[in-house]
C-alpha cells in the first residue's frame, strides 16, 4: 500500500491506462484518498476482496491525500470509459466540474466513506458512508445497558478538535447517555486519535479522579486512543475492563487483542467494507436501472468480549490496519 504511495500520480495514471482490458463484467475505477491510516489501508484491501468476489475489475488509484490527484484519476477513468467510478473524497468541495464530466459521460459515481458538499447531490449516484453520530449512540447505549441503574462517572477521550468525526461521535454518545441520569461525563479531553496522547490524557484523568477510583468507564472516539488508555490504567495499578469499563469505536485488530486479554469491553465497528454495498448498488443500477437511495448507511456493529474477539482479530489482522 505505502510503497504504491511512492509513485507520482501521473505515473499511476499512465499505469492505469496501460492495464489490459479484463474479461470481467464490470470495470470500476476507485479513486482512493491515500494511506492516511490503518483503516484506509484495510478499506483498500477489503475493496479488492469484494470486487474479486463479484468478478469486478477494480482499478485503484492512490491520490496521496491530494484532491488534484483524485481529479486526474477520475478524468483518466472517464477516458477509459469505466462502468462506474468510486470516489473517497479527500475534501468535501471542489468536485463539481469533474463530476459533471463523469455525468456527461454517463458514468455513475459512488462516494465511499465521506460525503461531499450538499450542492453536488445530483452529481453522484449514491454515497456509502457510516453515520458517526450513530456510532457514538451505539457506544452510549451499550454503556447505559451494561451499567444499569448504578451511578457511573465517564471520562471521554475525544478525537482531534475540529474533526467532524470527533464532534459527531461526541454528539451521538451524549445523546444516548442523556436519557440516563446515572451516567455523567466528568472529564473530556482530546487525545488526537493517537495512542501516545490517549495514554497521556488518561494518565492525567486518573490523577485528577482520585487515582481512578472515581472513574467507572472510559469512552474513546477511536480504538487507538483506548489502547493507550488501557496501558495508562495498567500502569496505575487498575484493571481495565474490570475496574473501569471501556468502550471505543473503529474495531481495529489491537482492540480485539485487548478484549482477548480481558482488558477491553466493547467497540463499535466502522466497517472497512464500503465497496461491497457500493458494488451491489452499481450492479443493480446497471442491470435493472434501480436507482439506489442517495445515502446507503453502513452497519455500525457493536462487538464485545462475548463476540469471539479472537476470531475478529484473526479476520482483521491481515487487512493492513
Amino acid at each position: 500500500m505505502t510503497s504504491k504511495a511512492l509513485f507520482a500520480a501521473s505515473a499511476m495514471a499512465a499505469l492505469l491506462l496501460a492495464l489490459p482490458a479484463s474479461a470481467a463484467e464490470l470495470t470500476v475505477g476507485f479513486s482512493q484518498i491515500g494511506s492516511e491510516s490503518g483503516w484506509r489501508a484495510a478499506e483498500t484491501s477489503v475493496s479488492k476482496q469484494e470486487a474479486a468476489k463479484r468478478k469486478v475489475n477494480l482499478k485503484i488509484a492512490d491520490a496521496q491525500q491530494k484532491q488534484e490527484n483524485q481529479i486526474k484519476a477520475i478524468r483518466s477513468f472517464i477516458a477509459q470509459n469505466v462502468d462506474a467510478i468510486f470516489l473517497a473524497p479527500v475534501v468535501s468541495t471542489g468536485w463539481d466540474s469533474v463530476l459533471k464530466e463523469a455525468k456527461e459521460a454517463k458514468i455513475p459515481v459512488v462516494l465511499l466513506d465521506r460525503d461531499i458538499d450538499p450542492s453536488g447531490k445530483e452529481l453522484y449516484l449514491t454515497a456509502v458512508t457510516s453515520d458517526s453520530v450513530h456510532e457514538g449512540e451505539v457506544a452510549g447505549d451499550w454503556l447505559a445497558k451494561t451499567v444499569g441503574a448504578k451511578a457511573c462517572n465517564v471520562v471521554e477521550l475525544q478525537g482531534t478538535v475540529g474533526a467532524s468525526v470527533a464532534a459527531n461521535r461526541k454528539k451521538g454518545f451524549d445523546t444516548a447517555i442523556a436519557k440516563h441520569a446515572n451516567l455523567k461525563v466528568v472529564r473530556s479531553q482530546t487525545g488526537d486519535f493517537t495512542r501516545a496522547k490517549g495514554k497521556e490524557v488518561m494518565e492525567s484523568f486518573i490523577k485528577a479522579e482520585g487515582g481512578g477510583k472515581n472513574i467507572c468507564a472510559v469512552y474513546a472516539h477511536n480504538d487507538d486512543m483506548m489502547v493507550g488508555a488501557i496501558q495508562a490504567m495498567k500502569e496505575a495499578g487498575l484493571k481495565p475492563g474490570k475496574d473501569i469499563l471501556t468502550v471505543s469505536i473503529d474495531a481495529v485488530p489491537d482492540i480485539f487483542k485487548a478484549m482477548v486479554a480481558g482488558e477491553a469491553n466493547a467497540t463499535v465497528e466502522l466497517t472497512p467494507n464500503m465497496a461491497g454495498p457500493a458494488l451491489d448498488a452499481v450492479a443493480a443500477f446497471k442491470e435493472k436501472g434501480t436507482v439506489p437511495p442517495k445515502w446507503i448507511q453502513t452497519e455500525s456493529r457493536l462487538l464485545t468480549a462475548t463476540d469471539n474477539p479472537q476470531k475478529e482479530y484473526d479476520s482483521k489482522k491481515g487487512l493492513g490496519y
Partner: protein, 330 residues
C-alpha cells in the same frame, strides 16, 4: 559565562515555579506522590516522563541553534528510529535494536550536517528536506500500520523504572550529564558558540567550524533517535504517522524559552531542558484542569508569551533590573 547554570536562568526558574503553583491550584493533588509497583506515581512524575522526548530533542537542538542553525527534521527522525526499533524488537536483542535505531539517527544527522556544513545550504531548508522525507521513510518501514511489539527489554525502556524513577527520565538525565560533560567539560562548547557567533572569524582563528557544524547535527540526530525509541517503547508500538509530529517546534520553543538566541553564539543545556519541562508542566496542567480541549492551544500560547515576556529585558522590570545590574558591574 560557561557555567552550567548561569544567572540568566532566574526568569526560567521563576516561570516554572509560577506554572507549578497554577497547576497546584487547578489540581489540588498535583504534588501527591506514591509508589505503584515500585515506581513513583503522580502528576509530577508525569511531567518528567512526558517531558522526556522534548527534553532529549532540546539537548540536540540547543547545540544546533548555538551554531546559528536549526533542525526541523527531529520529529521525522523520531518516527524513523521508532519504526526501526519496533520492526526489529521482537526478532533481535535490545543491543541490536538500539544500535540500529540510534545508528539511523546518526545517519540522518550526518545527512543534515553534510547539507549544511559541506554544501552550505541554509539550515532551515536543508533540514526541511528530511522533515518531509523522513516521515515517508518511517511510513515505508511500518507500511503505514502501527507496528506493535512485546519485547520486554524495549518495553522496559519506556515503562520500566530505576530507583522509582521512570527509565525515560533517567535516560534524559543521563544524556544531559553526558552532553554537559562533553561540551562544557572541554573547550567544545566554546568552539560551538564561536562558530555560531561568527563562523568566518572563528575559521580564521583556527576553529574547525565545518566539523563543529557537522557534529552538532549528528548529535541532534542521535538525541532525536533516542527520543523516538522512547516514544515507541512508551506505547509499545511505532506510529509513523504521529510519532514526534510537530515536536520539532516544541523543541525549538524549549530552547528559546531556555533563553538561547536563535542567532546562535551562546547556549545553555540546563535551561533548554528546563524549557522543555516548562512546556510539559503547562501541558499536564491543561490536561488536569478539565477545561474543554478547544482551549488547549490558546492557553499554551498565552503562557508561552508570558514566559517570553518575562525574559524580555525591556518589558520585565525584574529581568530588566537584573540586566542593568549586570551591565553596570564591569
Amino acid at each position: 559565562m560557561t557555567a552550567l547554570l548561569p544567572r540568566r536562568g532566574l526568569a526560567q526558574i521563576l516561570a516554572l515555579i509560577v506554572i507549578l503553583a497554577v497547576d497546584r491550584v487547578v489540581s489540588p493533588q498535583f504534588f501527591d506522590l506514591r509508589l505503584q509497583d515500585g515506581r513513583l506515581f503522580g502528576s509530577l512524575i508525569d511531567v518528567l516522563n512526558r517531558g522526556t522526548p522534548v527534553a532529549l530533542l532540546s539537548l540536540g537542538m540547543v547545540l544546533v541553534i548555538a551554531t546559528r542553525g536549526i533542525d526541523l527534521s527531529v520529529g521525522a527522525v523520531m518516527a524513523i528510529s521508532g519504526a526501526i526499533a519496533a520492526s526489529l524488537a521482537d526478532s533481535h536483542g535490545l543491543p541490536v535494536v538500539l544500535a540500529a535505531s540510534l545508528g539511523a539517527g546518526l545517519v540522518c544527522g550526518l545527512w543534515n550536517g553534510f547539507l549544511v556544513a559541506v554544501l552550505g545550504m541554509q539550515p532551515i531548508v536543508a533540514t526541511l528536506i528530511l522533515m518531509v522525507a523522513g516521515r515517508g521513510i518511517a511510513q515505508l518501514i511500518t507500511e503505514g500500520r502501527i507496528v506493535t511489539f512485546a519485547s520486554p527489554g524495549l518495553v522496559w525502556l519506556g515503562n520500566g523504572s530505576i530507583l522509582g524513577l521512570p527509565v525515560p527520565v533517567a535516560i534524559a538525565l543521563g544524556m544531559l550529564i553526558l552532553t554537559g560533560a562533553v561540551v562544557r567539560g572541554s573547550a567544545l562548547g566554546l568552539l560551538i558558540e564561536a562558530t555560531g557567533g561568527n563562523a568566518r572569524a572563528s575559521e580564521l582563528a583556527g576553529v574547525g567550524t565545518r566539523a563543529m557544524i557537522l557534529s552538532v547535527y549528528v548529535w541532534c540526530g542521535v538525541c532525536a533517535a533516542l527520543a523516538g525509541v522512547i516514544a515507541a517503547a512508551d506505547i509499545m508500538g511505532a506510529d509513523a504517522n504521529n510519532a514526534g509530529l510537530w515536536l520539532e517546534l516544541d523543541a525549538i520553543l524549549a530552547v528559546v524559552i531556555g533563553g538561547t538566541s536563535l542567532f546562535g553564539g551562546r547556549f545553555s543545556l540546563v535551561l533548554a531542558v528546563l524549557g522543555a519541562l516548562i512546556i510539559q508542566t503547562m501541558n499536564t496542567g491543561i490536561l488536569l484542569s478539565g477545561y474543554p480541549p478547544e482551549f488547549n492551544l490558546l492557553v499554551k500560547a498565552v503562557v508561552v508569551m508570558a514566559v517570553l515576556l518575562l525574559q524580555s529585558p525591556k518589558l520585565s522590570g525584574f529581568a530588566g533590573i537584573m540586566a542593568r545590574l549586570r551591565r553596570a558591574k564591569p
